[in-house]
């Protein structure tokens, strides 16, 4: 399997070349074009594993209940994948450290990657500006993620602060808390940052440069009333 991210960071698409016999699992609706030689199958779960519980759990994260499996039977083929919003995509090889991914950022993964849902806890669900559930990807193999904005990695050694709503994914060796920005509440509120996420430990966190909500608030008032 050969994954290339093209046209990033503005409107990235992932080109997945599948050799004969290879396959990839994607979020429903992510395909934009493909060789007609590929075989498509829609299921509620990851191939050969998981259960209907998996589908239900995925549903609560706001992801599609259904997953599409693209398989190259007999002959190689390509499939282009893209998210719905403008933004970047990330190709990451999981090497044993599970990756925690924002719901909505998952695009695709190799069959050798396991997928599960993790509840963030009530505090983080309310205040982190992120989804209440995270997707945990573990095992070995490539995964493809997406975000609104450019994606940049930060290697954390000790502590690092990421504004709420800017987390794409992080390695599970990191833990994070929601804290107020700056030293005081006045700074936190007046400075417009409010609450931020503080990461602790060793590992990599991938951030999105922009926040879709801020863009929505800038664009919204100019649009037709609903």
């Amino acid at each position: 399997m050969d994954i290339t991210i093209v046209q990033g960071p503005g409107s990235a698409a992932a080109r997945v070349m599948l050799q004969a016999g290879e396959g990839i699992t994607t979020e429903g609706g992510a395909m934009i074009a493909m060789s007609s030689a590929l075989h498509v199958e829609t299921t509620t779960r990851k191939r050969d594993s998981g259960s209907i519980m998996g589908a239900l759990k995925r549903l609560v994260t706001g992801e599609s209940i259904f997953l599409n499996h693209y398989t190259a039977h007999g002959r190689a083929g390509e499939v282009y994948l893209a998210p719905t919003l403008p933004g970047d995509m990330l190709h990451h090889e999981i090497d044993g450290v599970p990756l925690l991914v924002q719901a909505g950022s998952y695009v695709a993964s190799a069959p050798s990657v396991e997928m599960d849902i993790r509840w963030q806890g009530f505090g983080k669900a309310m205040f982190s500006g992120e989804s209440a559930f995270l997707i945990e990807l573990s095992g070995q193999g490539p995964v493809v993620l997406s975000s609104f904005g450019a994606i940049y990695p930060i290697v954390v050694e000790g502590e690092h602060i990421v504004d709420t709503g800017h987390i794409v994914a992080f390695e599970s060796t990191l833990k994070y808390q929601v804290v107020k920005a700056g030293g005081s509440w006045i700074t936190a509120i007046a400075g417009g940052e409010g609450l931020v996420c503080k990461f602790q430990g060793n590992g990599t966190v991938w951030c999105q440069s922009h926040n879709a909500g801020s863009f929505g608030q800038a664009l919204g008032p100019l649009l037709k009333p609903r």
Binding site: V6, S11, I32, S35, A82, L223
Partner: protein, 285 residues
């Protein structure tokens, strides 16, 4: 994109994607050779870059020099901006609202584009014609949708564009809309196309970046991601995959292209973006 090559212990280049593609085809370069371009974190193999090369290769490279008017495209691929140099006395047709800058000797005239089909395609009913008076002039064009821009030179051939893809054209290009699909009583989805034929420059744009795909045989594209395709390609609208995929794959309708030709696809599509803006829109009253 400028690509640096590392092989036999030495650096070569930089080359354009088109050059690299040709050198690969000729066997001067091997897929396992190392390559690098700005934006990459480290050297990678040419094999890994193949997809990017395909996407970055300017379409219709052979005919790319063919043009009536000088032009340049900047800020590709996300916010492509077109600057056209209009020779004295000549006129350029431009999509309404797209003018961003212009010389003061350009005269603008608004033309109504006829036909009910304009309503159907959801396109603006008006076109602006810019004529350079008393000497050459320059116009900067910024389409409304964030995305890429493409130029083709029509010489008697025909191109089909998605309904909102038209940006600008020379006066020798005929633009008419073709209705496709049927809605309502028979229920179904529709695909509106504009047919561009004649002779002259034509510029069209996308939502998101553009990926040209040269179809030889069979290719499947989500209908929302079709930007344009060349005449002569056979196509058929249908669903993806089997019975379950029909309802649940989330892929909507797809178009199967057959034959020889080029399809331009866009990496984003409007409906899901429009849906996303919903919570941010003002409420009535």
């Amino acid at each position: 994109m400028q690509i640096h090559i590392h092989r036999n212990g030495a650096n070569e280049g930089p080359y354009s994607p088109e050059q690299v593609r040709q050198m690969l085809a000729a066997g001067h370069l091997q897929p396992q050779d190392l390559a690098f371009h700005a934006g990459l974190a480290s050297w990678t193999t040419l094999a890994a870059l193949m997809g990017e090369l395909a996407a970055a290769t300017p379409p219709q490279a052979a005919a790319a020099d063919n043009r009536d008017m000088e032009y340049q495209v900047e800020c590709r691929p996300d916010f492509a901006f077109l600057t056209v140099h209009i020779p004295g006395g000549q006129t350029l047709k431009v999509e309404a609202s797209a003018m961003a800058t212009m010389s003061t000797n350009l005269r603008m005239k608004t033309k109504v584009r006829g036909g009910l089909s304009r309503f159907l395609t959801g396109e603006s009913l008006f076109l602006n014609e810019f004529t350079a008076e008393g000497g050459p002039g320059e116009i900067g064009i910024a389409p409304g949708s964030p995305g890429d821009l493409e130029h083709v030179y029509l010489d008697g051939n025909t191109i089909f564009l998605q309904s909102s893809g038209f940006v600008a054209s020379g006066m020798g290009v005929q633009v008419d809309s073709k209705w496709q699909g049927f809605k309502g009583f028979f229920s179904g989805e529709s695909l509106f196309l504009i047919r561009c034929s004649g002779k002259g420059d034509l510029w069209f744009n996308t939502f998101g970046a553009m990926i040209p795909v040269d179809v030889t045989g069979d290719y499947v594209v989500d209908t929302g991601h079709i930007v344009a395709f060349t005449e002569g390609l056979e196509y058929e609208i249908g669903k993806l995959g089997g019975l379950k995929s029909l309802f649940f794959s989330g892929e909507g309708l797809v178009c199967r292209f057959r034959g020889e030709g080029r399809v331009w696809i866009q990496t984003r599509q409007l409906p899901s973006f429009a849906w996303w803006t919903y919570p941010f829109r003002p409420t009535k009253n």
